[in-house]
Structure formats: structure tokens, C-alpha cells
Symmetry: C2
Subunit: 356 residues, 2 copies
């Protein structure tokens, strides 16, 4: 097995976008990291090559049967020019859990983290420096065997591409309106909701269209069985602060186990706050709202870190939360997490990994 | 808009496989049919070009968010050398319904059927002639815009590839064993179960692995809500004959609307049989079995047409059906449908389309 990282440098260098012109996920760095899987050989030929189109047989299984998983994480440049990753081992562990659900062979997490570090060293000038910016890292795996049989592929490609991204909140944190979706379903127990697989995302577009029509920014997903219990917001996990207690839906087999979610739970506990992961119904949220106890609500994810919810719309009932302002807990969590991620604050949890 | 079909013929011709060496979905004809979608321009540049790898940006949305739908149908060569398609307009209608669920723009069904006929005329020598063989036709659409934003793509590719396939039953119809899956879920109401989208298929691999471990050929899927009601078998619809009545699960928003299923319902009604589409629980099937009234069971789909079920395994309970023999109704349906498809029998329903 060939597992020495080969590097073929690009002879051309693209112009790097200005900090003011960073568009999420549309601009990519000069290179890409790749690795192949072949049955009987395992993951082979790790390589960094110039960023360029890839060539696939039209019968490649990814087009037909959707064996495809991905991850998203960020590299940050600190004020003193260090490069930090935030809990990258968690992303690679989750990638393998997603792969397992889709019958895709596991990668060696430690080796791949090593390749990723080498890749980021090569592309370090692509990590933007302005406040709030970062380099978004997209690892993904897809099936390449040309075969229309409905069965796991015998060949895969692993890739990482890099996209410099601007501040999610160029004009400050802005609480968003949420539409509670009563008919479309994101996922159900026994399905693929816990996996970061391609099919879960496009399956959500119709509900997002409806949220947009309703003048709302995001969808809040309810459970697929009873359509009563809260699962996620858009492609983020969701938290509520009710009468001093912070609650988030428990990992029930259909929601994604967010790494920001996990970190926020650890932070809140370290602050001695009253936190619980449990089943939460929309009815409970509405009762709390009516009683004046729904203090804050926010989504959590890699892109926005914290996305405060200003308004919830459920079956014709509108709940305005904290007067559509970012609540003090949301703000404190945002400042603390982004502070740790960017090296402005100490990292007592050892969450960051420096690339040297 | 350019919608005149362009044809670029291949200068090389592949050797056609012998009738005895046809492997499903691994051998493809000399050309492929393609068409592009660009926002603001619609579907443009329909063309037949040599079969070859396609080139995609690594950020193409199909890899990341799974906007991808497909169809499957067959072309048959009759004994008198005519070429028949079976209800192709139904496949193109369903392709558009699948696309709608995935927020993919609709194709013009009539135009595309015209292009498909031209394509099949060009590739007619790829339609095998031996008993039970056919040319499998795989139309598919996938998102091509290079963009990591979670939103519908602004660019797509439509393709058709062709694969000569052998008889599904080279050694005669063979009833299979079925494992009733109690924990993995194929689909749920509000999800994508009614769409022929890539993500539905790889999501089923884990359950298929378990069926194989249990020594069974296929999975029988239960509903995602109560895990009581029958949905599909593998990637086929399913029928039961109970005490003279033929029943199949009603289209409930999570099962695929099979074109073979639809045709069988029409056939059975034309024969004056007692048929119903309704909710069917595993408990009902078990009770019928215990009472000696479970006469036949079979899956239906494009690949196998009819796949008799010889054994059902549910929660430790084994039901052997019709002594593991193909039942008379299964046999009659298979002979009639394949007879119409291949032109051996009259087509009183006008299901076949001849390509002239």
C-alpha cells in the first residue's frame, strides 16, 4: 500500500480574493488533496495536486446511488500568525461514522489528519487574515465504480478542497426568523439523519423554499414519527434557554451530532449552567413562550458558530424571542467559541490543534 | 434556446458482449445522450456523443448535497426485429416528479422522448436478441454548479446511458427469501421515498448487508412511523395474494410509484380479479399465513419484472410461501408482462412504443 503523501505543485497561482469579496464556497485554493480506495488495496495514493476538474465514468455510482459523505471544518489564522484547527479529529471521526452508515470504507483518521496538516501548510497563504474570516475545509468521499448494480461501490475517491470564507456576520450577529415545518421530514430513526451524507441536504430544499415563501430564513425540523418533537434548524443543531435552563434535543438517531453542539454543551457545563439534552416538543416551547420563559434560542454549526433565533413560526402561531435581539448567552457563547477558535482566548479544553 | 439534437458519432466501436456474458450495468454502448441546464437558459444543447468520462469541478454540488435523480427502463427487440419501449412516457413523468422533490428543473418530456428514440435508433445493434435479454436505459440528472452553499444548483446535466442486460432469470424464475427489517428505515412521509433519487439507494445498503448475513436475498421495508406496515421489498414494490384477493401497499407518500406496479394493477383489474391498494401490516400477513391463506407474494420492478417471494422472515418468525415455488398468478403475470414487452403477445393496453 502506498501511503506516502505525494505533492505535485501547481505551476499557476490564482489571485486570492480580497477580504471584502469572500463568498462562501465559490472560490477555491490552488490545490486539492486526494486519495483513492480500491477493493483489496484499501486507501491508496494520497496526493496533493493542482485544483482541477475530475474525470468520472457516467456510470460512477455516486451519480446513481448516492454513496457520498462529507465534513466541514475551518482553519483560522491567529493575530500572531499561528494556524489553528478546531477539533479536527472530531470531524474525521464523524466522517467515518457517516461512511459506516453509507457502507463506505473507513479512512485512517490519524494519517488523514497528517495529510490535511501538510495540505494546509502548503496552502497557508489562502487562510484569510481579516477579523471573522477563515479557510473552510471540505473533506468528502464518493463512490466511483462504474456499475449500475444497487450495491456498495468497490472504488471511492476521498478529497479535500479549501475555500476562503468571510465573516458569517459581516454586519454583526443578526437573529433570524424560523419556519417550523409540519409536513416535509428531514430524517427519521433508522434513516440517514445522523450521517453527513449528500442526500440529506437536497432533500431539505423543498422545505427551505417554503420557509423563504413564508418570509423566514430557516426551517425548524420536527421528528418524522410524531411531528411533535424538535430535531434541527436548517443544517444546524438548536438550543433553547427556558427559565434559566439550556436545553437541546438529545441525540435520538435522526439528528446530526454537531461538533459545535458538543463544544457548547461542554462550555455550558464548565460554566456551571443547568443544561440538558432531552426530547423537546414544540408544544413545550410554545408553553414556555406563553409563560414568558422562552429566553433565548439559537442554532449552532461550523459556518455561523451561533445563529440566534429571533422568531419562531409554528402552525400560524408566532413567537418573538428576546425582542429579536441577540441574547446575552448567545453572545457569550459566540464570543467564547470564536475566541478559542481564533486564538484570542485561552483554550482550556485543548480543542485547537496548531499547524506548525 | 438550442434544442436541435446534435450527433457526434464515435470513431471507435466497442465489441458487443455475447448474450451469455451480459452483466447488469457494467457494459455500456458506444454513445451517450446529454443535455445541459443553465439558469436563465433552461435545458440546452441536446447531443449524442461518444461514451466517455465526464469532467466535473470537485465542488460540483452533486458530490456534496445529492441533487440527483434517475430512471430505469428497457428497450426490447421483438422476434420480427422491431424495437419496443415499455411505457417510456411514464418514466419521464416520474423523472420530473422526482426532480420536483429535489428542486431540479423539469425536462420537456416529449422532446426528451424524441431524443431517446433517436439515440436508440443509433444504438439499435446494442439491443441484444437472445430470449430474456434487453437494453437497459438509464436516464439521470445531477447538479453541476461548483458551489458549497446548501441551496439548489443553478446548473445540471441530463444524461442517458445504455447497458445490454441478460435475462434476470437465466435459470428460470427463482423465489427468494426476504428479511423483514425492523430498525433501519428506507423512507418516511414527508421525506424522499416517492422520488427516484440517488440518496435513497445507498441509504438501504446497511439493511441489505443484514439481510445477506441472515441468509436472505432482499429486505422488506416497514413504514418509518409505526414499523408495522409494509412498504417495499428491496428496490421493488410488493404484492400479496391472500385468500384470492391481491393486495399491495397504497401510495402513501413514502413508497415509490412503480411502473411495473401500475401495469400489474391494470392487468389484474382487466382480468376481473379482486385487487386492492391499501395499508397492509406484517401482522395481517402473519395471520393470513397462520390461517393458510397467504397464497403468493412477489416483488415487481423493471429489472426482474416479477420476483416471487419464497420465504418471509419477520422477528424470528419464518413464513414459507407456496412451498417456495413460483405461484400460478406470479407466473401468469410474468409471462403476460414480458410477452407484451417483447412483442410476443398482443398489447391491448397500448403500453409499448415502437421505435421506427
Amino acid at each position: 500500500m502506498t501511503d506516502r503523501l505525494e505533492i505535485i505543485k501547481s505551476t499557476k497561482r490564482k489571485a486570492k480574493p480580497d477580504a471584502g469579496n469572500l463568498v462562501f464556497g465559490k472560490q477555491f485554493s490552488d490545490h486539492m488533496l486526494m486519495m483513492d480506495y480500491l477493493e483489496g488495496e484499501g486507501w491508496i495514493n494520497p496526493r496533493i495536486v493542482p485544483y482541477e476538474p475530475i474525470s468520472l465514468d457516467p456510470a460512477a455510482m455516486v451519480f446513481h446511488y448516492g454513496q457520498s459523505v462529507f465534513e466541514g471544518l475551518k482553519a483560522y489564522r491567529t493575530e500572531d500568525e499561528r494556524i489553528l484547527l478546531f477539533r479536527p479529529e472530531k470531524n474525521l471521526q464523524r466522517l467515518n461514522r457517516s461512511s459506516d452508515r453509507l457502507s463506505i470504507p473507513a479512512i485512517d483518521e490519524e494519517k488523514v489528519l497528517g495529510y490535511l496538516k501538510e495540505f494546509l501548510k502548503l496552502e497557508k497563504d489562502w487562510i484569510p487574515t481579516a477579523e471573522g474570516t477563515s479557510l473552510y475545509i471540505r473533506p468528502f468521499i464518493f463512490a466511483t465504480e462504474p456499475n449500475l448494480s444497487v450495491a456498495p461501490s468497490k472504488a471511492y475517491t476521498f478529497m479535500v478542497i479549501l475555500s476562503p470564507v468571510g465573516s458569517y456576520y459581516a454586519e454583526g450577529i443578526h437573529p433570524v426568523g424560523i419556519y417550523v415545518e409540519n409536513s416535509y421530514t428531514r430524517a427519521v430513526r433508522g434513516g440517514t439523519g445522523t450521517a453527513k451524507t449528500a442526500g440529506n441536504y437536497s432533500a431539505a430544499y423543498k422545505a427551505q423554499e417554503r420557509a423563504t415563501e413564508m418570509g423566514q430564513s430557516q426551517v425548524l425540523w420536527l421528528d418524522g414519527v410524531e411531528k411533535k418533537y424538535i430535531e434541527e434548524v436548517g443544517s444546524m443543531n438548536v438550543f433553547f434557554k427556558i427559565n434559566g435552563e439550556v436545553v437541546t434535543p438529545a441525540l435520538n438517531g435522526s439528528i446530526l451530532e454537531g461538533i459545535t453542539r458538543m463544544s457548547i454543551l461542554e462550555l455550558l457545563k464548565s460554566w456551571g449552567m443547568n443544561v440538558s439534552e432531552r426530547r423537546i416538543s414544540m408544544e413545550e416551547i410554545y408553553q414556555a413562550y406563553e409563560a414568558g420563559q422562552l429566553e433565548e434560542a439559537f442554532g449552532t454549526g461550523t459556518a455561523a458558530v451561533i445563529s440566534p433565533v429571533g422568531e419562531l413560526n409554528w402552525d400560524g402561531r408566532k413567537m418573538v424571542i428576546n425582542d429579536r435581539q441577540t441574547g446575552p448567552l448567545s453572545k457569550k457563547l459566540y464570543d467564547t467559541l470564536t475566541g478559542i477558535q481564533t486564538g484570542r482566548l485561552d483554550d482550556p479544553f485543548n480543542w485547537t490543534t496548531e499547524i506548525k
